[in-house]
C-alpha cells in the first residue's frame, strides 16, 4: 500500500515528493507507487546491463586474436549469457518497465497504473527470474546461445540450461504483467479530455508494445517449458531421434522472439518522438501516421517470424511469404524515420544531450533497419545468415536504436525523475563517445559478415583479425561511453542543480507537475483540453 504523506518537520523545508516521502526499506520494497517501482526496475536492469556488458567486453577481448584467450567453453558461455541477459533482462524491460512505468500514468493524467500491486509483483517476478539467470551463471553458465535451439539445448548441452530457461520463463511473466497493466491503464485511466488522438506518441508506442508482450510472451513461456520437459524426461517433443521436429521449436521460439524485437524498439521510437518534438519546439509531423504505424508494427510483427528460418529447411513457399511480409513490416518504420526528419523542418532546434541521442538513434536505426532488409531479402540472407552481418544488424537496431533511445530518454526525463540536472558537458562528451565507439565496434562487423566470418566463433581464420581488432577497440570506447553516465548520474543525485518543473520548456502533462512528482502525481485530476505537442497554433498546412 502506498504510504500516506506525513508532514514531518524536516520535510517542511523541501516539498514532499515521491522520493523523500519516506526513506525506509519497507517503503521501497512494498511500494505500489509506479514511480518507485520504476526506480527499482531502473536499478535492477542497470545491474543486469553491466553484467551483460562485462561479458561482451570479455569476449571482445578474446576476439582480439585469431586463437583467442579463452577456451571454447568459456567463450560460448559468455556470449550466451550476454545474449540472454541483454535481451530478456535488460532490453525487453528497459524502457517499458522504467521510463514508461514512470511516465504513462502521468502523461495520461492518472494517479497510478490500473493495477499498482500487479506492477510491484511484476518487479518481484523479474527479480526471481534474474536470480535464476544469475544462478545459472554462477553455477557455470549456459552455452546454448540466447536462442536455445533444440536438440542441442534439450539433449546435447551439458551446461545449466534448465536454470537459464527457467529464468527466461519467469521473466516472461513479469513482461506480460507490465504489458497488461499498460493496456488496461491506457484504456481505462485517461483523464477527462485525454482522447486517443491526444495521447503522447510515447504512450501509443508503449501501448503497442503492451499488445505484443501480452500476445507473444505466453508462447515463449510454453516453449521454454516444453524444452525443459524434453531436457528432464527426454520425451521427444523436439528431438528428431524420437520423431520430434527441431524446426517446430524454432517456429514457437520465433513466434515470440521476432515480435520481441519490436518490444525492443517500439518504446524507443516513442521516446524519440517526444525528444525530437521537444527540442524542435514543434508538434510531431503527421501525428496520426506515427501513432498508427506503431500499431501496424505491433500487428504485422506477428506474421514475419519465419525470416529467421530461411535456410533451416522451412518450406520454400513459407520463406517467400515471410520475406514479403518482412518488407511490409519495414514500411511503418520508414514512415517514422521520415516523419521525425520532417518534424525538424522549420523547427527551432537546440542541441541538448537528449537531442544528440535522438540524432544518434535516427542515424543508427536507419542503418540497422536497412541492413534488416538485406536479411529479409531471401538470396542475401542465404549469404549472410549466421555471420557477423546479422550480429551487426541487430546491434545497430538494439544498441544503436533502443539503447540510444533509452539513454536519450533517461537524459530527457532525469530532471523529472530526480529533480536534478546532470553535467551538460560530460553528458555531451559521453554521447559522442557512445556514437563513435558504437560505429567503430559494429560497422566493421558488416564487412566481416559478408566476408563470411560466422558468429559464435571463439577463434577464427587469421584474415579476419584486423576488422576484429577495430571492433574490440570500438567496444572499449563504447564501454567508457556507458560508464560515464553511471558516474555523472550518481553525482547529480547529490550535487546536481535543481531542475525545476520544466527545464526543457517541453509540452506534455508530465512537465506541468512538480519535479520529482508527488506520490499521486496530481492534486486533482487534470482536464485535458489540447492536443499533444502543443507548441503553438498550426501555422502552415503542407500539401
Amino acid at each position: 500500500m502506498a504510504t500516506i504523506v506525513q508532514g514531518t518537520p524536516e520535510a517542511v523545508a523541501e516539498p514532499v515528493d515521491y522520493l523523500n516521502v519516506s526513506h525506509t526499506w519497507k517503503s521501497w520494497l512494498f511500494t505500489t507507487d509506479h514511480k518507485r517501482i520504476a526506480v527499482l526496475y531502473l536499478i535492477s536492469i542497470t545491474l543486469m546491463f553491466v553484467l551483460g556488458g562485462a561479458a561482451a567486453v570479455a569476449f571482445r577481448i578474446n576476439l582480439l586474436s585469431p586463437e583467442g584467450v579463452f577456451s571454447a567453453e568459456t567463450y560460448n558461455r559468455l556470449f550466451s549469457m550476454h545474449g540472454i541477459i541483454m535481451v530478456f533482462f535488460f532490453l525487453v524491460p528497459s524502457i517499458p518497465a522504467t521510463l514508461a512505468n514512470f511516465l504513462i500514468p502521468i502523461m495520461i493524467g492518472a494517479k497510478d497504473l490500473a493495477f499498482p500491486r500487479i506492477n510491484l509483483l511484476s518487479w518481484y517476478i523479474y527479480v526471481v527470474g534474474a536470480l535464476f539467470a544469475i544462478y545459472a551463471v554462477v553455477r557455470g553458465g549456459v552455452d546454448t546461445g540466447w536462442t536455445f535451439y533444440a536438440p542441442f539445448s534439450s539433449t546435447y548441452s551439458n551446461s545449466y540450461v534448465l536454470a537459464a530457461a527457467f529464468g527466461v520463463f519467469i521473466a516472461g511473466f513479469s513482461s506480460i504483467l507490465t504489458g497488461l497493466n499498460f493496456i488496461v491503464t491506457v484504456h481505462k485511466m485517461r483523464a477527462p479530455g485525454m482522447t486517443w488522438s491526444r495521447l503522447p506518441l510515447f504512450v501509443w508506442s508503449n501501448y503497442a508494445t503492451g499488445l505484443i508482450q501480452v500476445l507473444g510472451t505466453p508462447v515463449l513461456a510454453i516453449t521454454m517449458l516444453l524444452l525443459a520437459f524434453e531436457r528432464i524426461a527426454h520425451v521427444g517433443i523436439f528431438d528428431p531421434n524420437i520423431g520430434g521436429d527441431p524446426i517446430l521449436f524454432q517456429h514457437l521460439f520465433w513466434f515470440y522472439s521476432h515480435p520481441a524485437v519490436y518490444i525492443m524498439i517500439l518504446p524507443g521510437m516513442g521516446v524519440i518522438s517526444e525528444i525530437i518534438s521537444c527540442f524542435s519546439r514543434k508538434r510531431v509531423f503527421g501525428y496520426n501516421f506515427v501513432a498508427f504505424s506503431s500499431m501496424a508494427i505491433a500487428v504485422l510483427s506477428f506474421v514475419v517470424w519465419g525470416h529467421h528460418m530461411f535456410i533451416t529447411g522451412e518450406s520454400m513457399y513459407s520463406s517467400i511469404a515471410f520475406s514479403i511480409l518482412s518488407f511490409l513490416v519495414a514500411v511503418p518504420s520508414a514512415i517514422k524515420v521520415f516523419n521525425w526528419t520532417a518534424t525538424m523542418y522549420k523547427g527551432s532546434i537546440s542541441f541538448d544531450t537528449p537531442m544528440l541521442y535522438a540524432f544518434g538513434f535516427i542515424g543508427l536505426f536507419t542503418i540497422g533497419g536497412l541492413t534488416g532488409l538485406f536479411l529479409a531479402t531471401l538470396a542475401t540472407d542465404v549469404a549472410t545468415h549466421g555471420t557477423y552481418f546479422v550480429v551487426a544488424h541487430f546491434h545497430y537496431v538494439m544498441v544503436g536504436g533502443m539503447v540510444m533511445a533509452y539513454m536519450g530518454g533517461l537524459h530527457f526525463w532525469w530532471p523529472k525523475i530526480t529533480g536534478r540536472m546532470y553535467s551538460e558537458a560530460w553528458s555531451k562528451f559521453s554521447a559522442l563517445l557512445v556514437f563513435v565507439g558504437f560505429n567503430l565496434t559494429f560497422f566493421p562487423q558488416f564487412i566481416l559478415g559478408y566476408l563470411g566470418m560466422p558468429r559464435r566463433y571463439h577463434n577464427y581464420p587469421p584474415e579476419f583479425q584486423t576488422l576484429n581488432v577495430l571492433s574490440t577497440a570500438g567496444a572499449s570506447v563504447l564501454g567508457l561511453g556507458y560508464l560515464l553516465p553511471i558516474i555523472y548520474f550518481l553525482h547529480s543525485l547529490k550535487y546536481g542543480a535543481r531542475a525545476g518543473n520544466n527545464p526543457w520548456g517541453a509540452a506534455g502533462l508530465e512537465w506541468q507537475i512538480q519535479s520529482p512528482p508527488t506520490t499521486f502525481n496530481f492534486d486533482e485530476t487534470p482536464v485535458v483540453t489540447e492536443e499533444a505537442y502543443n507548441y503553438g497554433p498550426v501555422e502552415e498546412i503542407v500539401g
Binding site: 517456429h251 514457437l252 519465419g306 529447411g313 518450406s315
Partner: protein, 110 residues
Amino acid sequence: MTQHIDSVKAYVGVFIALIILTFTTVYVSQLELGEFHIIVALLIAFIKASLVAWIFMGVRHSSKMTRLFVVAGLLWLGIMMLITFGDYTTRIWDYTPQPWSQKPTVGGVH
C-alpha cells in the same frame, strides 16, 4: 458498467445444450467420417466454447472493446497455428505425409 443479470433459465438452457453437445460429439466420433471426423469434432467444440463465452462469461453483455479483445485472442492463436502449418504442408523437398489426399506426393526435388 450497468449490470446485466441473466435469468436462471438462460443458464440452465446453456447447461443442457452443453451436455447434449457432449453426447453428440462422442456419438459422432464413432461414425465413419474419415477426414471430416476432426472437423466435426472441432466444430462442436467451438460451438460449446462459444456458448460458454457468450452466456456464462457474459460476452453478450460486454462492451465492444471486450469483444474485440476476445476476437483478437482467437485471431492470434489462428495466426500461430495457420502459419506454422503453412510451413509443414508446403515442404516439398522434405518427405511429409499427406493424409488429406490420396494422390501421390511429389517426391524429392533434391
